[in-house]
């Protein structure tokens, strides 16, 4: 099969080609096509849409992007980025690694005892080939009318699948890497559509680390903007417990649109931490739907921006049932002239009595030109709820800096300590192995601008 004949642009032909190229069953092709049609019906968001008002969506030229196929070849020896090898030393108790690096995928090494219990952890492509009937209902369960989600659902061609059978509890995290490159290294005018689906059976327990990154661009080389359109769906069945860590480290030519959807059933819980460390424009949606009594979610977020990066996060805490609780704690620190907007929605349905929903967003402005906005939105229809939200935006406390400097620390060292401390209050809650130690390291790298 000659790849050059493939239509790689974001177009209907691409949808058809993907289906035939991958030998997909007809139901899957139909799913893709119906998503594509809905995609066409949906207007492109503009800067005038509330959710997109700080994202420079106009700077993204979809007609000039070539979609690339993730995991077209299995490669035992595909070169993993050096920093990822380092990261893995922090996850030394992991339960399996799936890595897609450019077009190569490093096959998952799932310990035999987990496979024997019925655990599945593999690329999405393998899952569609080997576990089609198992994954099928999850491909269409979570609906969306968002343009970029529909685009992903029509064009996804990479990503990861995790399945943990009921009553299976797993200690070490599953680790997924999607590292975005093109033929000459850094992504250049290309698009990827990874989709990660995690299914935790009832009363199971597992943790998942999802790392999204791109190859850094070479200096003095004009690179075309590239698109990472990422869809993550986490299904947490009754009584199950899921801990999720996502780290986004895109380079400055990447426009990233990510959507994470946590579906939490009765007495189940999800605890997640999203760490955003780069990309030129980063638009992230994190939705948590508490679908039945006793469902809980605890979402933490860290954004460390620099230069002229734009971050826009929208979180939704959706309470569909009584006795549910949700908490969001989002912290943003901005250097240079980075910008951020955080919009947090709390939605409580009329039947969702006795729910608790909390939201906090704190923004630390380090650069003189940095800017942050915070917009809470409450849509509460039930009357017996506990609900609070709070936001702060401001520079580093000068008294804190003076205190640290008066004990010998230089101004940059003092600032670094304060920023790390600002994030520590969130990171300490992450209980996935030594994940937090790795995150401290990557935060320090970004603070030092390396």
């Amino acid at each position: 099969m000659s790849e050059s004949k493939l239509v790689n642009t974001i177009a209907r032909e691409r949808v058809d080609n993907l289906a035939s190229q991958n030998g997909e069953p007809s139901w899957l092709k139909e799913l893709r096509v119906s998503s594509w049609e809905a995609y066409l019906q949906t207007p492109m968001p503009t800067g005038r849409d509330e959710d997109w008002r700080k994202t420079e969506i106009e700077s993204l030229d979809l007609s000039n992007l070539n979609a690339i196929d993730l995991s077209t070849k299995k490669d035992e020896k595909a070169k993993l980025p050096e920093w990822f090898e380092t990261a893995l030393t922090f996850f030394d108790n992991h339960s399996g690694v799936v890595a897609e690096v450019g077009q190569a995928s490093v096959p998952a090494k799932l310990p035999a005892e987990l496979a024997a219990k019925g655990v599945i952890f593999c690329t999405l492509k393998e899952a569609l080939r080997d576990h089609a009937e198992l994954i099928r209902p999850y491909l269409s369960q979570i609906e969306s009318d968002q343009k970029f989600v529909l685009m992903n659902k029509a064009l996804f061609n990479g990503g990861t699948f995790l399945y943990v059978p009921p009553n299976v509890e797993i200690e070490g995290p599953f680790v997924s890497l999607t590292h975005f490159t093109s033929s000459n290294g850094s992504p250049n005018g290309v698009a990827i559509f990874p989709r990660l689906i995690a299914v935790l059976g009832s009363h199971s327990k597992a943790s998942l680390v999802n790392i999204l990154s791109s190859e850094p661009g070479k200096e003095n080389k004009t690179t075309l903007r590239s698109l990472a359109n990422v869809l993550v769906e986490v299904h947490v069945a009754p009584g199950a417990k899921c801990e999720y860590l996502e780290v986004q480290r895109f380079d400055s030519n990447v426009f990233a649109v990510t959507r994470t959807h946590n579906q939490v059933e009765q007495d189940a819980s999800v605890k997640s931490l999203t760490v955003a460390l780069g990309g030129s424009q980063l638009k992230g949606d994190i939705a948590t739907v508490l679908n039945a009594k006793g469902a809980e979610s605890d979402l933490q977020g860290i954004v460390l921006g620099d230069t002229d990066e734009h971050y826009s996060f929208n979180t939704i805490q959706k309470h569909n049932a009584p006795d549910t609780s949700s908490n969001i704690n989002f912290r943003v620190a901005l250097k240079g002239n980075a910008q951020s907007i955080y919009q947090g929605v709390i939605e409580v349905a009329k039947i969702a009595q006795k729910t608790a929903a909390f939201q906090s967003n704190k923004n630390l402005l380090l650069g003189n030109e940095a800017r942050a906005d915070s917009i809470p939105k409450l849509e509460i229809l039930a009357d017996d709820v506990k609900c609070s939200h709070g936001a702060t935006v401001g520079p580093v406390d000068r008294e804190q800096v003076f205190y640290l400097m008066s004990r010998g620390l230089s101004a940059p060292a003092a600032e670094e300590l304060i920023v790390t401390g600002f994030f520590r209050q969130i990171l300490e809650a992450c209980t996935i192995g030594r994940a937090k130690d790795w995150v401290y390291d990557v935060l320090a790298e970004k603070i030092h601008g390396v």
């Binding site: 008066s406 010998g408 003092a414 994030f423 520590r424 209050q425």
Partner: protein, 256 residues
């Protein structure tokens, strides 16, 4: 007479905060081995003096200068002053959530000593000082001054100074808010800071602590300057007669 050079020499120091002049010509010399006390009412400008000595950017020196070990430090940043051997124990130490005491204290000791103290050596030193000051181990994991009681904050200040071994320790109202047991422990900690090469400047508005840390020199601070200086006995006289006595002595009746 010794030919020693003063550790601190403050010369006609004027400083303003937000365009309001607070320090109005402070003169003060402190030699190695000495303990000085500055006493004065609330609002007289004592903390402003301590902040200005340490180089807080909000306090702007408009006239005069500060010599420390013979070096003009008036233009130095606070961290440069700290590395030169000056330290301040704050009246109101600020909380820094997320920054643990152990992390910070180690970074601070390394910065001031200008080298990485081996971790084992550092721990031993830290444990010893903590024991002396009755500071519990769990302190190290807590965030700086976050949720600390008044007494805990003051102990942490003295603990840090004990590790930094400054040539001059300025202690701003370290005694306030301490019960009698804490006052004794903290005073002992202060006394341990002093040796023939170092000096102490104790700022207070109560005489109480001076029963435990005995100064050779006492200065009365009023309206942004030192208005009277004397020996250790002056503090007892102030305690007995109040600050009004100094003011009356200085202000002839009818003139204010």
């Amino acid at each position: 007479m010794t030919a020693k050079q003063p550790i601190l020499s403050v010369q006609n120091l004027h400083a303003k905060v937000e365009d309001k002049e607070i320090l109005k010509g402070v003169n003060l010399e402190i030699f190695p081995g000495e303990v000085h006390a500055i006493m004065g009412r609330n609002g007289s400008g004592k903390s402003t003096l301590s902040y200005t000595l340490m180089g807080h950017p909000r306090y702007v020196v408009t006239e005069g200068k500060i010599l420390f070990k013979g070096i003009d430090i008036t233009e130095m940043t606070p961290d440069e002053r700290a590395r030169t051997g000056l330290a301040l124990a704050f009246q109101y130490p600020v909380a820094i959530p997320g920054v643990s005491v152990s992390n910070f204290v180690r970074a601070s000791v390394n910065a001031v000593r200008g080298k990485d103290v081996p971790i084992k050596e550092f721990r031993a030193e830290l444990k010893e000082q903590m024991k002396k000051l009755g500071v519990a181990n769990e302190f190290l994991g807590r965030y700086i001054n976050d949720g600390f009681s008044g007494g805990e904050k003051k102990r942490l200040e003295i603990l840090q100074l004990a590790l930094l071994k400054p040539a001059l320790a300025v202690l701003d109202e370290t005694d306030s808010g301490l019960d009698i047991d804490a006052l004794k422990t903290v005073s002992e900690g202060i006394n341990n800071l002093s040796n023939p090469e170092t000096a102490i400047l104790l700022i207070t508005h109560y005489q109480r602590i001076l029963n435990y840390v005995e100064p050779q020199f006492v200065h009365v601070f009023q309206d942004g300057r030192i208005v009277k200086s004397g020996g250790g006995d002056l503090s007892k006289e102030l305690e007995a007669r109040g600050y009004d006595w100094v003011s009356q002595e200085l202000t002839p009746s009818g003139v204010s």
